[in-house]
Amino acid sequence: MRVSLEWLAEYIDIKGLDLPLILEECGFPVESTENVDGDTVYDIEVTANRPDILSMIGVAKEIKAKTGRNIKLPNIYLFEKEERIKDFKIQIHNYDDTPRYIGCKIENIDVQESPEWLKRRIKSYGLNPKNLLIDLTNYVAVETGQPLHAFSYSLIEGNEINIRRAEKGETIKILSGEEKDLDNDILVIADKSKPIAIAGVIGGEESGVKKASNTFIIESALFNPVLIRKVSKKLNIKTDASFRFERGGCYSMAEFGLLRFLYLLKKSLQDVKIFIPIDVKNSITKQNIIDLDFNFIRKKLGTDINNEEIISILKRLDFIVNGNRVIIPDFRRDISFPVDIIEEIGRILGYSKIKERIFIPEGCYAKHNNFYTQYRKIRDYLIGLGYYEVATLGLVSKMELDIISLSTKDFIKIANPINQNLEYLTPSPIINLMKVIKNNVVKRNTDLKIFEIGKGFIKKDNRYIENDYLSLLITGNDLDKRWYNQSRKVDIFDIKGIMEYILHNFGIKEFNIIKDKSNYFNPDQCIAYIINREKIVVAGKISEDLKDHYNLENDVYCINIDFNRLMNYIKYKSYRKPGVYPSVYRDLALVVDVDLKYNDLLQIITSCNSLPFINVRLFDIYKGKQIPDGKKSMAINLEFNGTTRTLTDKEVEEVIDRILDSVKEKHGAYLREK
């Protein structure tokens, strides 16, 4: 709401007041200040529950409540011996839609330019002056909050106005010249045969103010806010009037607004002939009365404000205090419950006058939240390992989804997206992380380690499923180029190492790794981690298609963890006293077939062991000179420990012999000659 201070000063003395502060404490902060032809104009933010503040009088009343200064209401037209209109009918078809409709006939109107003072006010509100009649209706709307509308009398067919729902098939050409199709959801002002305005929203082009007319019907009405909002949404038309009506009009202001208009009209055009208005209204209007409970107010606010002060505040707000009851004026439709009174006392008293209290009640012991605890733990591990946490929007395009899937039927689409790039909810954070990689690579940051714990969304049998994922991506070199570093390109074993570190830190010992397939990954380098027969993690090299889509040169490796399911297996690690007896170490360089998997070797070694503790470390893989074609050498360091005693050479040699026999028998492995 734009508030001209020059205009506001017509109703209340604002000298010496810190208006921005007062307005803010009332709940209507000044958003911006502008100078319009030497007049200061505030743009104040008005909440949806306070349509009364969309008027100069409303703003003045708030200042009055807060400061106790007097307010001067504007002059209105007083009827004496005016004529009644003959041969004109106004009919409200449904009082729920239209609680009140006042029509007033005016004659001898010369549609002329507005006087300077009026133009100045209209401009201060941000409108362009048009002509006296339109400018006056706008002036009154801003001054009183009551929108008015003028119809050319001669263009109202059949001398009747009907406020009714439109019929399917009816149309109207609105002021902008656009033709709109109407239907039964839309309330219209109609003459005998056709709609001439969309009620509370916009007038028709034909019936509007024309220079040639000199007789008009001025409408001042009250419409159902929800209905007006529906119509405005449905037709996609927003006007100053619809903005006001959908927030709710004021029963008495419909009359006051019209009378104010007539007063100003008569002052500007002496010769105007005004008829007695036709006022059609629902006579049953409810007065809002609320019980006044002083203790309730004190208790909810947490302050010891006394009864007199409460009454004084209510009176300044034009509330009528009658014993233990408060009668609410009809311009305050937002006040209907006892708690609403609390807000009024609080804001007029000033919340800063109320003390702080910190009380942690029994029964409010905050238990830890497992998701958050584990999220934070894994995040901190990864940060320590050089990974950057990122945050992405989680929305993707159809084009991106097409790379990972043949059809988008399993994905969740937004019906009204901002644009095509943000049309779908992402099935996992991977796609967005690829974008992060791209954005950084473009800026020449090519060595990246990033992760996000975010949601993935899919549709399954008409259910909408959200799941938390930890997605981690690496690309480029493993280390920065520095004087002390020898860096190399990252590969799938970087990913494996991180994954096993994560599992270890979460106390998960039992898992299998299998070869897997996924649309995100290169078919040759895709593995899955299986815990308790559940696939919890898919990892590997990002597919060429995805890589190409983001124009990436380097390979990208990725881990995608189903974090919700992983959480089911998280255990605290336990600790043990380290051994006091020395370990025995042996190195073996075994020559095996090139396609022998390390894991096969490892299984034999561990199954051959009969000693209390064994640890196997692979320290070299060698192919080439001294090794026959089709073979490779795997050098292994074995650590044995007796835990409660020192091992003898003999026992260790026995195990080594068993290992050598077994690998020879099963895989034809033999010791590499020194």
Binding site: P29, A48, R50, L301, I358, Y387, V390
Partner: protein, 336 residues
């Protein structure tokens, strides 16, 4: 029969006049794996018991003496070498490879930590919501003008939507348990806003709710002011001004004294000295009706704020888009 004493004299005499290389070979000769002393010790098992004891003891003592000698000898020699070498201590140190927490998570953690210390428990809720939880049960009926403040994304071919705020979790939490209830809800929210320096279609909120007997504005003031002082600094002042949210009555905005100019007035606070940081209020009794709480018996307060804003104010970030671009150079942060 070995005479260990003779052996000892012989060795130390040789060592006395030895060059550096000779010392090395003497060490191998006497202490090496196939050296004299280890051979003696290995041969002990073949000696008669009485002799075995004596020789074993003497040989072990000698071995220890020799080991000490060599340790001292090498230490003395290397020290001389080191002191003459050049150390360029201006070379950059080896950088540990450390990542970083996203500034939004950092702000979220700090805020969560403060509220959990004040006894608020973390609750989560779904991003995909129903109209009932996101609007209706929060006293925002269809065609209510306040729905304009939150332009909503809808899910195609369904009556679901993406939550526009974390407030639906208030309803879910109250449906689940009886008062006293004291929760915070961190989470992602969605609104149909174009991306610009102060808007994003996806953003984060933290929501709080406390319901019990006799909860008043003084409690709201106490908890939220304590939070503000803890998060923005001990000298931070708070101020509450009326606002409007359908699910609270009264509704308020909390302002904190500007963290950049300490209330003197600057560009960030538009020269007001105050920054708007969150919306709050006493729970509207109508909301209690939806969840079946007795509004005569219980009262409560709720609040909600944008994490992006908290992070921007605390870490001096002036463009919301930076959070979601994830430029590594941004994520690393700087020391001012």
């Amino acid at each position: 029969m070995h005479n260990i004493n003779e052996l000892k004299n012989e060795i130390f005499q040789l060592l006395e006049n030895a060059t550096k290389d000779e010392v090395e070979s003497l060490k191998i000769k006497y202490l090496g794996r196939k050296g004299i002393l280890p051979s003696i010790l290995r041969g002990l098992k073949d000696l008669p018991q009485e002799e075995r004891k004596k020789v074993g003891k003497e040989a072990n003592i000698l071995r220890k003496e020799l080991e000490d000698y060599f340790t001292k000898y090498y230490k003395a020699n290397t020290t001389i070498q080191k002191s003459s070498s050049f150390l360029d201590y201006s070379l950059p140190g080896r950088e540990p490879s450390i990542g970083s927490i996203h500034p939004l998570s950092k702000a979220m953690d700090e805020i969560i930590d403060i509220f959990t210390r004040l006894g608020f428990q973390i609750e989560y809720g779904p991003d995909i919501e129903t109209d009932y939880y996101n609007f209706e049960a929060l006293n925002i009926p269809k065609y209510h003008p306040s729905r304009d403040m939150q332009d909503t994304f809808y899910i195609e071919n369904s009556d679901l939507l993406l939550r526009t705020h974390t407030s639906p979790v208030q309803i879910r939490a109250m449906e689940k348990s009886k008062p006293p209830i004291r929760i915070i809800v961190p989470g992602r929210c969605y609104r149909k806003d174009e991306i610009d320096p102060s808007h994003s279609p996806v953003f984060h909120q933290i929501e709080g709710l406390y319901v019990d007997k006799d909860v008043s504005f003084a409690d709201l003031n106490g908890i939220l002011s304590a939070f503000a002082r803890d998060y923005f600094g001990t000298d931070t002042k708070t101020r509450f001004t009326p606002s409007y949210f359908p699910f609270t009555e009264p509704s308020l905005e909390m302002y904190v004294s500007c963290v950049f100019c300490e209330g003197k007035g600057c560009n960030v606070c538009k020269h007001t000295g105050w920054l708007e940081v969150l919306g709050c209020g006493l729970v509207n009794p109508k909301v209690f009706e939806y969840v079946g709480y007795d509004a005569n018996k219980y009262s409560g307060f709720a609040f909600g704020g944008g994490i992006e804003r908290f992070a921007m104010l605390k870490y001096g970030i002036n463009d919301m888009r930076l959070f979601f671009e994830n430029d590594i150079d941004f994520l690393k942060g700087i020391i001012k």
